[in-house]
Amino acid sequence: AQSVTQLDSHVSVSEGTPVLLRCNYSSSYSPSLFWYVQHPNKGLQLLLKYTSAATLVKGINGFEAEFKKSETSFHLTKPSAHMSDAAEYFCVVSDLGGTGFQKLVFGTGTRLLVSP
């Protein structure tokens, strides 16, 4: 079965400094990987996705992630944090299972705190 591990439950940064949210995956075949963001009292929003094309994936709001098969990692980065980036971030792997229908498996989440 597919799974993801988010290595940090909380990450604190100052506004204007780089962001790094770490994710490792476990998969028996080439996975599809995603990062979702959840702001308080709002729905989950897709930040970016990797589906076996370019290993460096660019998403919305200046975020990007790099798929590294040798390290089984899919870390999320942003060069400069903004106050509005404070939210919960989920690393997600897609598991097609035996039916061919997509099933998303979420990590436990990383809360990003941004201080002025």
Partner: protein, 115 residues
């Protein structure tokens, strides 16, 4: 384009009571998902519909949870009777197709508190 709608947004009940949640997916989306998100955890898939048929309900506690999507559009999720451990946010999502990868769009969720 309107997003995924859910109601109610909040619900407080006592244990052993019943509760129902409603979801209206994005127009034209064939696939609908219900997730349970317990505080401090990532969402966990409860059930997946393709049109009005169930594709995956392997993680749905069928002794107390039920869901339906009779006309292949909106859906209801019911808990009867509720337990304390059912306190969570229930998220509904939809996607345009089921097979392979398709982006899932999430609603705002219903926060359930069981006392």
């Amino acid at each position: 384009e309107a997003g995924v709608a859910q109601s109610p947004r909040y619900k407080i009940i006592e244990k052993r009571q019943s509760v129902a949640f409603w979801c209206n997916p994005i127009s034209g989306h064939a696939t609908l998902y219900w997730y349970q998100q317990i505080l401090g955890q990532g969402p966990k898939l409860l059930i997946q519909f393709q049109n009005n048929g169930v594709v995956d309900d392997s993680q749905l506690p069928k002794d107390r949870f039920s869901a339906e999507r009779l006309k292949g559009v909106d859906s209801t999720l019911k808990i009867q009777p509720a337990k304390l451990e059912d306190s969570a946010v229930y998220l509904c999502a939809s996607s345009s197709q089921g097979l392979g990868y398709n982006e899932q769009f999430f609603g705002p969720g219903t926060r359930l508190t069981v006392l």
